[in-house]
Structures are given as structure tokens and as C-alpha cells.
Amino acid sequence: MTTAATSATRSLPPPSERYTILGWLRKNLFSSLFNTVLTVVAVAFIVFILQSLLRWAFTSAEWGVIPANFNLIMRGRYPAAEAWRLWLVLYLLGGAVGMIWSLTTRQIGTALLVVFVLPFALMLVPFFSWAIRLNLLLVEVIGIGGYALGRYLPIERRGRAIAYLLIGYLILMLVVLRGFGEDANTLPAVPTTLWGGLLLSLLLAFFGIALSFPLGVLLALGRQSQLPAIRIASVIYIEFIRGVPLISLLFMGQVMLQLFLPDGFPTIDRVLRALVAITLFSAAYTAENVRGGLQSVSRGQHEAAQALGLSGYQTTMLIILPQALRAVIPVLVGQFIGLFKDTSLVALVGLFDLLGIARTVLANPDWLGTQQEIYVMVAGLYWIFSYMMSYASRRIEEQLGVGKR
């Protein structure tokens, strides 16, 4: 705090001092006695943490558990014979990401490089078979293809193009993964009971986000509505859901749902039940975040839209919502990350998501006592995806210039 007050009065040192390593060290680490003490403590702390971590990772950890259970961790009990469908989904994902990227930004930045280096980096994982590496290469090639294709699309229509792309992708993915009938020759059905591991976690997150977002926006608008019945219904829903833990909704879905349905009603898929609980839960939070955005749109915007003769629907869709959503992108992404992390709770109701699979691996007599390795890996996987999302959100923020206009 002190430096901020005094730095205004201090004149800048000559460039040579600012840009030498020594100058940098002095300015950032040893500018005062207090600062020096802080630096020493911080260095000690970092050395201690790194040392214990590295010692554990390279001497006592038994990493063999991960390659041995790799398939289980990635796709759960999804049959090996149908695993090519997962690759197909990944190819499509690569293409879609490439296309969306080239539609949102036309310059090749470091972020792009990171995304494109990722599959190559994955190919270096030592225990991967050549088939996996080849498939990763294909994902890469298709991704680049998608990027190139995206450059030919007119940038003016990119919003719509991205929306269609995403919706199309979600539907296609579901069809490929789920398959058609029991006896279909092409794409036989793979029941959701066999879905698991990272696959299930990602799917729950994907569809949770895709479904809870529109529902949340509707609820937010409902809460702002002038019609009392709609407003009150929205408020009750939002406050109720926000007041209870997600785990209670998941338990209700798994344990009690059947009680609320008439006799002889077909059993609802367990994954679907979890998805519905997650969606309903997340929608209430989305609604509150979007409401914040709606409140930030000034009244003048309404009045101006009306003066132009726009209908209520047009005002909402064309004027209010775009501004409101733009204002809350960081919050929304934060919440989507939360949703992704919350999918881990389905492990507590007996689904084999990433965490659930980790727990079954630990029950396997061959791999008892490998809690640290398994959970570090699980945490790492969750971290990578969450971090990528927050990274992408920062990019979008920059793109849209939130906070700059």
C-alpha cells in the first residue's frame, strides 16, 4: 500500500535501471526492508513446497495405476469396440474449435498456439499407444482444417454461425455417442449406464451449460417481469434452489424421483436425472447473474428502443439481452466452471464420472493405497479443463472489450 502512495511522487528511473535483471529484482523484490523479508519468506515457502512435491512425485508415487486404468478413467465402461465413436466426437470437436477460433479472432496469437500445441503435447505422454497418437494427430489436422474453413466465412455473421455450429455439434455428438436402436447395425445403442470417466463429466458439463443457460435467462427475465404471477414464480424458484445444496437435489433425483411419477411410468435414465438436477440447480444461479446484467443496462436503452418503434420482444432480444449478457460474461463463465466442478458430486449418487471412477479404481485390490496418485490426477484433469475455460473467458472479454466501452 505504501509504495502506491509514494510511487506517484517518485520519478521514473532511467531505462537502463528499469530493464536490467538487477534493477527488476531490486524494484520488485527488495525495495524495502519489509519487502526483503517478504521475499525471503516467500522463497523459503516455495522451496519447501516444490521440494516435497518433487520428492513425492519422483520417489514415492506409484504412477503405474494411471496407465493401467487409463481407459476406465477416460471413458468408463464405454465398450472398447465402440471407442472409435469417441474419437469421431473428438475430431468433430477439433474442427468446431478450429472454426470458432478463426471466427472469433482473425489473428494468430499465443493462445491459438497453446490450443494447437495441446494435441502434440498429449502425443508425448509416454504410455499412449501409437493408435492414440495417430488419432490425436488427426484431431489436430481436422482442427487446422476447421480453422482454415472458418476464415472463408463472412465475419459479419459469426454470431449466428457459432450458435449453429455449437447446437449442431451438441446434437451430432449425442447421436454418435448414444447410437440408434438396440439392434441397429450402424451405431448400436450404448446405454448411458456405460458412460463414465472423463467422458461423463464433460458431457454432464456440456449439456448442463447448454440447457441451464437458456433456462436461466428466461428465469432472469421472468424475475424482472411486470406480471406478478410470473415474477413471483421465478423468485420462489430461484430463491428455493439457491437455498439448498446441490447434493440434496441430486439425492432427490436418484432416490425419490420415481415416487413422484405415476405407476408404470418408464424409469428415467440415471444420467438424465443427474443432468436435470444439475441443470435446474445451475439455472437459478445463471438467472441471478443475468439479472445483474439486466440491471446494469440503463433505462435509456429501453426508452430509445421504444422510440424507434421496436416491440417488447425485439427490445429484449436485440437491445437489452446482448448488453446485459456482455456485461456478465466473466461471472457466467465462472459459474459454468462451477457447474463443471459440481458434476463431481454425481459420484456421491453412484454415477461413474471422473471422481466416481477414481473411487472404483481405488476399490480394485490391485491398486489399493494409491489415493494420492489417483486424486492428484483427477484434480489435475479437472483443473486443466476449468483453467482452459477461464482462459477462454478472458480472451472473449478482451475480444468484446468488456469494461473498455
Binding site: M1, T2, T3, A4, A5, A8, N28, L29, S31, N35, L38, T39, A42, V43, F45, I46, Q226, L227, P228, A229, I230, A233, E239, R242, G243, V244, P245, L246, I247, S248, F251, M252, V255, M256, L259, F260, L261, P262, D263, G309, I337, K341, D342, T343, S344, L345, A347, L348, L355, Q371, Q372, Y375, V376, V378, A379, Y382, W383, S386, Y387, S390
Partner: protein, 394 residues
């Protein structure tokens, strides 16, 4: 243009805004109520046909028959389900209250570190935030319970810190005060101290308003209370005796034991929530415009005064609402205790009681009602506080 038209002739009813709005509300209400009735009637039918049981909370008066690992009140297996429920509720309260205190302290520390001009300190805070915000709490809790606390030494090889404090994979045993006869008298002294402190604070505030030099009142208040407390402690014959833990048989005896499950849950919640609170604090401090700081400096306020009188009160206004939701999240997240075996409300009621009685609907109604009222009370309190510190707009 349509509107001009509409004013001249009365529109047909299907275009009349009032009729339509009424209709649409009736439709929505009808759907909501209809769905609700549909579910409830199914439930009642199903229950009466399949299991011939009606909704009833009578089971709460029956004997529970199971033991609970830790409890703030006396509890044994002969007690009722209702008492078991209360035990769970109190455990939830305990972990939530302590969690809020520690998470706030750690969160503010990390948040301030994040703004430190020291590069390393700044980076450590940034990495902390980036790591723990992006890992699911459940994974963190399970990791903490199974891969950290369980790997501590066993109780017979416990680490004995001065105190003595026993640190083992059963938890931590610390020395604890046991009230003696003079404890109630001491409590009265403390009460008097608080009253005196409040009086001092009021006087100082009035004087501060007159002279324009406002002292740091909370410090004076706490100082007064502490002084009175100290004097009382010296005068009265030992209001508390120290009960030291010692190793006996299987476990430590005496003192206060914080179990491994409790510690794992608490530390998991604190570490996770602190990362979010740190971001809230950072954003709050950064939200105070630079001009405020510069103006304060220009007026001759010291950096500490600037922080205390200018920056912090304004930052607080931005911080309180998101902080409230973090507190609520922490309380609700404590229900994940079920994964690591701490007997909180959800674990006791949603797991053991439900499993024994099979009364899913009643038990869930109780659980959800409890969490809902907890949430509503917390947000009510925080809203009141928020009203008080809000910018007065004219």
C-alpha cells in the same frame, strides 16, 4: 404506430394487453400448480398403495439406535431421531461458523497478497487462487481427508507439539479450559467489560464527531474489554483450569479433540472458499478508483489512514454482496461432509436416518427446509449490514 391505432379503437380481446397478460399469467400458474399437484398426488397414491404409509413425522420421536462420532450436545443411541437431527444441525453450524471465520481471514490475506508489489508474494497468491478455484471442492475434500490427514502419524507416534498438542491421523488434541466454580462470576465480569467497552466507544464517537478526529473505535472497544477481562481473571480464583490431553489406551484423553474428519472438512472448505474470497477482496480494493487514493494522499492522510478511512469502507461496499454468497456457498458446501464421514446435518439425516426409517420425503423436506432457512437468515443478516454501509444516494 400500432399503439396510436390501438388507442383509437378498442382492440379485440385477443390483442388486448390486459386480457393477454392476465391469460398468460393464468396459463403459467396453471402449469406450475398442475405439475405440482400431479407430482404430489402421484406421491400420495404411490405411498398409500405400494407401501401403505402416510406422510408423518412421528418417526422423529422414535429411538434412533445408532451412535454419532462427534456431538456438541449429549447424545446416545437411546435418544430420538429428532435429537440425532439436532446433533447433525449443530455440527453443520459449527463447521460453517468456523469455516466462515477462517476462510475470511485466509481469503483477505491472499487477496491483499495478490495486490502486493512484491513479485514473489504476488505470484504465490495468484497461483493459490488459480489452483484452488479450478479444482472441485469434493475432490479437494476427499484428497485432504484421505491423502493428507490419514497419512499423518498414528496416534501412538503422534507429533507432540508444546502445549501439549497431539497431532495424529485421528485429529488434533489440544489443551482446553474447564470451568470451575468461579466461572459464572467471571462471565458476569466479562459482561460488565463489554458494557464498559460499549460506553467508551460511544463517548469516543461523540467526541470524534465534535473534534473531527475519529479514533479507531473497535480497537478501543476491544482494549477495554480485554483490560476488564484481565483484571477479573487476576482477582477471581482461577475461573478456568487447563485440561491437558494425554495418551491413554487407544486414544488421547482430556483436552479438546478435533477429529480428523472435522479438520479435513474444515480445512478443505477454508482453503477452497478462501480462493474465492481472495478474488472478491482483490476486486473490491481495485474497484476503488485511483483518484480516491490520490485525493486522500493530497489531503495529507497517512497510508494507513487512507486504507482504513478511504479505501476499505468503499471496497467493503463492493465486497459485501459477493462475500455473502461465498458464505452461503460455504454453508451449503459443508453438506459434502457426507463424502468424508463427518456427521453433519446431511450425513446424519440424509444418510443414516433416511436409511433406517426409509422416510425419504419427510427427511428431505426437513433437510431442505433447514438449509433454506439457514440461507435465508444469513442473507437477511448480510442484507441488513449491506443496507447500513450502502452509499446514501440522493
Amino acid at each position: 404506430m400500432q399503439d396510436i391505432h390501438a388507442r383509437q379503437i378498442r382492440p379485440p380481446f385477443y390483442r388486448d394487453e390486459r386480457v393477454l397478460s392476465l391469460l398468460s399469467q393464468i396459463v403459467v400458474l396453471g402449469i406450475v400448480l398442475g405439475l405440482g399437484l400431479f407430482f404430489i398426488s402421484n406421491m400420495i397414491d404411490g405411498l398409500s398403495e405400494k407401501h401403505s404409509v402416510a406422510i408423518s413425522f412421528d418417526f422423529l420421536r422414535q429411538t434412533a439406535g445408532f451412535d454419532i462420532g462427534e456431538s456438541l450436545i449429549d447424545y446416545s443411541r437411546q435418544d430420538t431421531y429428532a435429537r440425532a437431527f439436532v446433533v447433525g444441525l449443530l455440527n453443520t453450524f459449527q463447521v460453517a461458523a468456523l469455516g466462515i471465520v477462517f476462510a475470511t481471514a485466509l481469503g483477505v490475506l491472499i487477496g491483499v497478497m495478490r495486490l502486493s508489489p512484491n513479485f514473489l508474494v504476488n505470484r504465490i497468491a495468484a497461483i493459490y487462487i488459480d489452483v484452488f478455484r479450478n479444482i472441485p471442492l469434493l475432490v479437494l475434500l476427499i484428497f485432504w481427508a484421505q491423502a493428507v490427514f490419514l497419512k499423518l502419524p498414528q496416534v501412538r507416534e503422534a507429533l507432540i507439539l508444546p502445549g501439549p498438542i497431539f497431532l495424529s491421523n485421528r485429529g488434533v488434541a489440544v489443551p482446553w479450559g474447564v470451568p470451575t466454580d468461579s466461572w459464572s462470576a467471571y462471565l458476569a465480569v466479562l459482561g460488565a467489560g463489554i458494557a464498559l467497552g460499549a460506553g467508551v466507544a460511544l463517548v469516543l464517537r461523540e467526541r470524534g464527531k465534535r473534534t473531527g478526529r475519529m479514533p479507531f473505535i473497535p480497537l478501543w472497544f476491544l482494549g477495554t474489554v480485554a483490560a476488564v477481562g484481565l483484571v477479573g481473571w487476576l482477582i477471581l480464583p482461577q475461573p478456568l483450569t487447563l485440561d491437558r490431553p494425554f495418551l491413554d489406551g487407544f486414544n488421547t484423553k482430556g483436552g479438546q479433540v478435533l477429529s480428523q474428519q472435522f479438520l479435513a472438512l474444515l480445512s478443505g472448505l477454508v482453503i477452497y472458499t478462501a480462493a474465492f474470497i481472495a478474488e472478491v477482496v482483490r476486486a473490491g480494493i481495485q474497484a476503488v478508483s485511483k483518484g480516491q487514493r490520490e485525493a486522500a494522499t493530497a489531503m495529507g492522510l497517512t497510508p494507513t489512514q487512507t486504507l482504513r478511512l478511504i479505501i476499505f469502507p468503499q471496497a467493503l461496499r463492493v465486497i459485501i454482496p459477493p462475500l455473502t454468497s461465498q458464505y452461503l456457498n460455504l454453508t451449503k458446501n459443508s453438506s459434502l461432509a457426507i463424502a468424508i464421514g463427518y456427521p453433519d446435518l446431511f450425513a446424519v439425516a440424509g444418510n443414516t436416518i433416511l436409511n433406517q426409517t426409509g422416510r425419504a420425503i419427510e427427511v428431505f423436506a426437513l433437510i431442505m427446509g433447514t438449509y433454506l432457512s439457514l440461507s435465508l437468515i444469513t442473507s437477511l443478516l448480510m442484507n441488513m449490514y449491506n443496507q447500513r454501509i450502502r452509499l446514501v444516494e440522493r
